[in-house]
């Protein structure tokens, strides 16, 4: 590529190179041919996906695994709209992503030109920010702003819509453009009075509970939070996306909290006298009934997004700012608390209500995950899809390190796990990357088997096949008199034969006695991707469970004897 870009597309790709972009996940089409033409000469590697949704999830998985923004490049119209699920997913989970969409020429805008979709407006509620580029000379400024916005503060996706004539138009500007975003504010000064107030609350607490969310991982606050928890001697629960924010094998860890979290974490929530959240949204997966949430506890909220403070829970004290800085500041003002009674009480609850499943009675997802955890020593990068298998994986695959747990939280996007794992493996090539998916979700994006094969990524793709949409079936079983409606997946393919048709190795897992053997074989296979088709029992339910719309007091650790009312919560 010439040193000085001559066209908008050249300027764009040069800017991406300057930002350190190594990979673009994309799919071409008419309006982006000028950009793909420049990519031909670029150092940036293109990952050609089989669907634009796959591209967006790969970029998401890539970003979560290495912290750099994932970059997506797709064409106008359906190419752009196909990314929306992925953009929404990244927005819900605060994942940095840059989405470049082609657009019809400026003269065609608003005239229903071929493959014209008003993606700027369509995407508006699910992006952190967006641009419609009108002048090729704006690329340097816009790309710089886009990366800055995507990565800083509370991260999120930024969409850049590029009319074809802007991409192919003459570039006559400077590559060193300044950012011009006077409205973009990142809270960076902590309120010292609030720090002292919070320290006071902590120092008076006898039954504290720390809650670690995704924000703690994004803020790289794990070391500081660990020091804080250890100094306070306070137990720590994590949200699902907070897995990795605090080592789940740590003696102070209660594991995951919420709808399918551990009984002890949820019971701790009902009994604590103080709860302090680091970067969680107190969302309805952990707080089904706000009026009954941690009753009697002082609530402390630390978040970089001012709009999260008071959105759900009205905090008694709060810090708007960086979790790491906040934890660091708090460390200076807190004492070691006498929590021995509290920890002992929680230990008894834990012993009485452990996570449990039976290895007998057919092949169980829990058993496979449990064994995978042992075989990988908890060191793999785990990507999940959405549903029952996701909850079991959350429960049985404990995560100690940040960025090794990749799962769709806020959006609950089926089809996310497998493409996200492709992105994660590209970002972390030396790590063992495993996908735990279901037969439903896997079939939503399984065409990316071709992408995984082309790159020859040694992914372990475990498909938990119960031939049901298991989580919905569980709800219909528990709350709707087992009137199974629309949940039976008849006609699933033979996933082994499917894999083989792509030239991908397949392992069949049918009996619980074979779990260790088959998983060991799959983990040892590193010539490329492999699919493990696990023929699991069909009607297993996930426990513990808190019905949607209920507080943690309504936790069920096993199948209830009485008939349950229909849940009041939304999902």
């Amino acid at each position: 590529m010439p040193k000085i870009p001559k066209t908008g597309a050249e300027a764009l790709i040069r800017c991406l190179e300057k930002e350190g972009v190594e990979y673009i996940f994309g799919y071409p089409g008419g309006s982006v041919i000028p950009i793909f033409d420049v990519l031909y000469d670029s150092t940036i590697k293109l990952v050609l996906t089989r669907h634009e949704q796959g591209a967006s999830h790969m970029a998401d998985g890539y970003a979560r695994a290495c912290g750099k923004p994932g970059v997506v490049l797709v064409t106008s119209g359906p190419g752009a709209t196909n990314t929306i699920t992925g953009v929404f997913n990244a927005h819900m989970d605060s994942v940095p992503m840059i989405v470049l969409t082609g657009q019809t020429t400026q003269s065609g805008l608003g005239k229903d030109a071929f493959q014209e979709a008003d993606i700027f407006d369509i995407s508006m509620p699910v992006v952190k920010h967006s641009y419609l580029v009108r002048d090729p000379n704006d690329f340097p400024r816009i790309v710089r702003e886009a990366f800055h916005i995507a990565l800083t503060g509370r991260p999120g996706p930024v969409l850049i819509d590029i009319p074809k004539d802007v991409a192919s138009g003459d570039f006559t500007g400077t590559m060193n453009a300044e950012m011009d975003i006077p409205g973009y504010k990142i809270p960076n000064e902590l309120d010292n009075d609030e720090i002292l107030k919070i320290a006071g609350h902590l120092n008076r607490s006898q039954r504290p509970l720390l809650l670690v969310g995704h924000g703690a991982i994004i803020a790289r606050a794990t070391v500081e939070i660990k020091s804080l928890a250890e100094k306070l001697q306070a137990p720590v629960a994590n949200t699902m996306l907070g897995k990795g924010g605090f080592p789940e094998t740590h003696p102070l860890s209660l594991g995951m909290i919420g709808m399918h979290g551990t009984a002890y974490a949820n019971i701790a929530l009902t009994k604590c006298d103080l709860i302090m959240s680091f970067g969680s949204r107190w969302d309805d997966r952990i707080n089904g009934d706000n009026a009954r949430f941690a009753p009697g506890a002082i609530k402390i909220h630390i978040d970089i997004d001012p709009a999260e403070i008071g959105k759900i829970v009205k905090p008694d004290a709060m810090i708007i700012g960086d979790c790491r800085q906040a934890a660091d500041e708090l460390l200076k003002h807190i004492n070691t608390l006498n929590t021995r009674t509290w920890l002992r009480e929680l230990n008894i609850i834990r012993k009485k209500n452990p996570l449990r499943y039976k290895k007998q009675g057919g092949l169980k997802v829990q058993h496979i995950v449990d064994e995978l955890y042992d075989l990988t020593k908890g060191q793999a990068v785990i990507c999940t899809d959405v549903g029952q298998h996701q909850m079991w994986t959350s429960q049985y695959y404990l995560i100690d390190e940040p960025d090794t747990w990749i799962s769709s939280g806020g959006a609950g996007t089926m089809g996310f796990g497998f493409p996200a794992a492709i992105g994660a493996k590209i970002a972390r090539p030396t790590k063992t990357v495993c996908v735990i998916s279901g037969d439903g979700g896997f079939q939503m994006t399984m065409m990316e088997l071709a992408t995984a094969k082309n790159l020859n990524l040694p992914l372990k793709i475990i498909i938990m096949d119960n031939k049901y949409l298991g989580m919905v079936r569980q709800w219909q079983d528990l709350f709707f008199d087992n009137r199974l409606s629309g949940v039976t997946l008849d006609g699933n393919p033979d996933f082994i034969k499917l894999a083989e048709s792509y030239g991908i190795k397949g392992f069949r897992l049918k009996r619980s006695a074979d779990v260790k053997k088959i998983l060991s074989l799959a983990l040892a296979y590193n010539d490329g991707p492999c699919v493990i088709h696990a023929d699991v029992v069909r009607e297993e339910n996930v426990y513990p469970m808190i019905p949607a719309g209920k507080s943690a007091e309504h936790l069920m650790t096993e199948r209830p004897k009485r008939k349950l009312e229909k849940p009041t919560g939304s999902t």
Binding site: F120, D121, M124, P125, K128, H129, S130, L132, I149, I181, P182, G183, Y184, K185, D305, P306, A307, I309, G310, K311
Partner: protein
């Protein structure tokens, strides 16, 4: 209004009118971003005025909407978070001057016109159009003043009303 909206927008007792002044980058799409924040949370915008700021790089939006104070607080935070928004401030009545203007077409014949003109005079209104059957009147001032005029003018027969919506500016040296 559906039940869900009531929960979001607050019950009628604590619904109050809020005027929020929003200073934004003067770019296409900003209005949509701001409007989405209100619409998604079940707020009806009563009035909206957008005009260019001092140097053309920025615009001023003055939005009046009904809702309970807590939800308005949340909306202000979400609006402030938009990258194109410089600030979003709700001023109290004390520290701000608020005005709006209305153009009203009122039926007027030989028997009613004199009395109507007296009324207009009392409200310091201006007659912009004068025909044998109607008048067009311009009234400017507080929302309450406009409402009072309109209610008094009702019995003459109001044919049409156009209102600008409220605009506001902070008192003293403080910037809006």
């Amino acid at each position: 209004m559906s039940k869900k909206n009531e929960i979001i927008a607050g019950t009628e007792e604590n619904c109050a009118s809020h005027t929020i002044s929003i200073y934004v980058a003067n770019k296409p799409g900003v209005l949509v971003r701001v409007a989405q924040v209100f619409a998604r949370r079940g707020f009806n915008i009563d009035s909206l005025v957008v005009s260019s700021g001092m140097d053309g790089k920025f615009s001023r939006m003055t939005i009046t909407a009904q809702g309970n104070p807590e939800n308005i607080e949340q909306i202000k935070k979400h609006v402030s978070k938009l990258v194109d928004v410089i600030n979003a401030i709700e001023h109290t009545n004390l520290d701000v001057i608020e005005k709006e203007m209305t153009l009203v077409k009122i039926a007027a014949n030989n028997s009613s016109r004199t009395e109507l003109l007296q009324l207009i005079g009392h409200f310091k209104g201006e007659t912009l159009d004068f025909t044998d059957s109607s008048l067009i009147v311009q009234i400017a001032g507080s929302t309450e003043k406009l409402n009072a005029f309109l209610s008094l003018a009702q019995r003459f027969g109001i044919l049409e009303i156009v209102r600008t919506g409220k605009i506001s500016i902070a008192r003293g040296k403080e910037l809006t």
